[in-house]
């Protein structure tokens, strides 16, 4: 980021988002001068065509490899093309696009390596279901106790990272539900992570990747891989 303006990439993982992705890309491109990358995780609907028509850079995965793998593909692209900052946003319109500058600011100012948008900081309209809130509290406790980061929204998928984390994540990024795990990785890299308040909404189209039935699996899997990541070696 020496002198010239930083090269910023917005990464949108998308699975079966044909109805929302086009509008989202257009509103991003109207507002910001940044490149927009859609990683289509093997959708069988018209997600890919909609993204291309709306003018996004498109990475089409040949099969569904899961959210972590899809987001990681975005980091790999950013690393290969020399981007300085990646902002990761949901492809389904849950994240308020007007809050992108808030997520970018601490990184551009050099105050943080990762900035995570939290729906619980500041004034919040967010109303989650009871199991979801319970899960978030559980992970909040887990992250706070094991890393020392003061985290309010450990499952937030609205974040920005700088080059050091783009490089690391393009080699090591958790597969299934990556956001909680990422805190351990950041902790081990001694990254400076800060939260900023953002707005998030309930889904308008499509289905959440987390159904009630999978909530228990989610908790067990994330806790396990989280704890394993604490004792794992990264070569």
């Amino acid at each position: 980021m020496e002198g010239t303006s930083p090269h910023i990439l917005l990464v949108l993982p998308a699975y079966q988002e044909e109805r929302s992705i086009g509008g989202l890309i257009r509103s991003l491109r109207e507002r910001y001068p940044y490149d927009v990358l859609v990683v289509n995780d093997g959708s069988t609907d018209r997600t890919s065509e909609s993204a291309r028509e709306a003018g996004a850079i498109l990475l089409d995965l040949p099969c569904n490899i899961g959210i972590g793998g899809a987001v990681q593909t975005g980091f790999q692209y950013a690393r290969n093309r020399g981007y300085d900052v990646v902002v990761r946003i949901d492809g389904d319109g849950q994240h308020e696009v007007e809050d992108i500058p808030k997520v970018l600011e601490p990184i551009l100012a050099g105050r943080a390596d990762a900035v995570i948008g939290s729906r619980f900081l500041g004034e919040t309209e967010y109303r989650g279901s009871i199991p979801r809130i319970f899960g978030i509290r559980f992970f909040r406790l887990l992250v706070n106790v094991t890393t020392g980061y003061r985290v309010t929204d450990p499952t937030s998928g609205f974040f920005a990272i700088n080059r050091s984390l783009i490089e690391f994540y393009s080699h090591h990024y958790p597969s299934d539900y990556p956001e909680v795990d990422a805190y351990i990785l950041m902790h081990r890299l001694k990254s400076r992570a800060v939260e900023v308040p953002v707005r998030m909404y309930d889904r308008t189209e499509g289905k959440s990747s987390i159904t009630a039935f999978r909530a228990v699996y989610y908790m067990v899997k994330v806790t396990l891989s989280y704890l394993i990541n604490r004792i794992r070696r990264f070569g």
Binding site: G55, L59, L61, C63, G69, T73, Y77
Partner: protein, 113 residues
């Protein structure tokens, strides 16, 4: 040779030959055949030398020799299943990497409008 010895010898020898034939025809890769071959050799040996089975069972404190055989069988199956889980995890990782590379190559080949 009594009837049970004859039966178990034939069965384990047949199994051993079947595994070897699968490897020969390249339907089973060598690295996955090693555990199966080792298992069938052990069963064949114990069929031919039943006094060995009795002696080993008593040595480890198992009064009824056939239950030692079951124990060996179950441990062997567990080992093979773990081996498979590891193989699947490796394939999973390779599959993910290839999908990611492929997506990036497609983009470079002119997916961009």
């Amino acid at each position: 040779m009594n009837r049970v010895t004859l039966f178990s010898t034939c069965a384990s020898a047949g199994f051993l030959l079947y595994i070897l034939e699968m490897v020969r025809r390249r339907k089973l890769r060598e690295e996955y055949s090693i555990l199966w071959l080792a298992g069938s050799v052990v069963i064949l040996l114990l069929s031919l030398k039943q006094d060995w089975l009795v002696r080993i069972a008593h040595a480890v404190g198992i009064a009824y020799p056939p239950s030692f055989l079951f124990l060996v069988g179950i441990l062997f199956i567990l080992l093979i299943l773990i081996h498979f889980s590891i193989a699947i995890s490796k394939l999973h990782q390779m599959n993910k990497k290839m999908a990611q590379e492929m997506a990036m190559l497609k983009e470079r080949l002119g997916g961009e409008p």
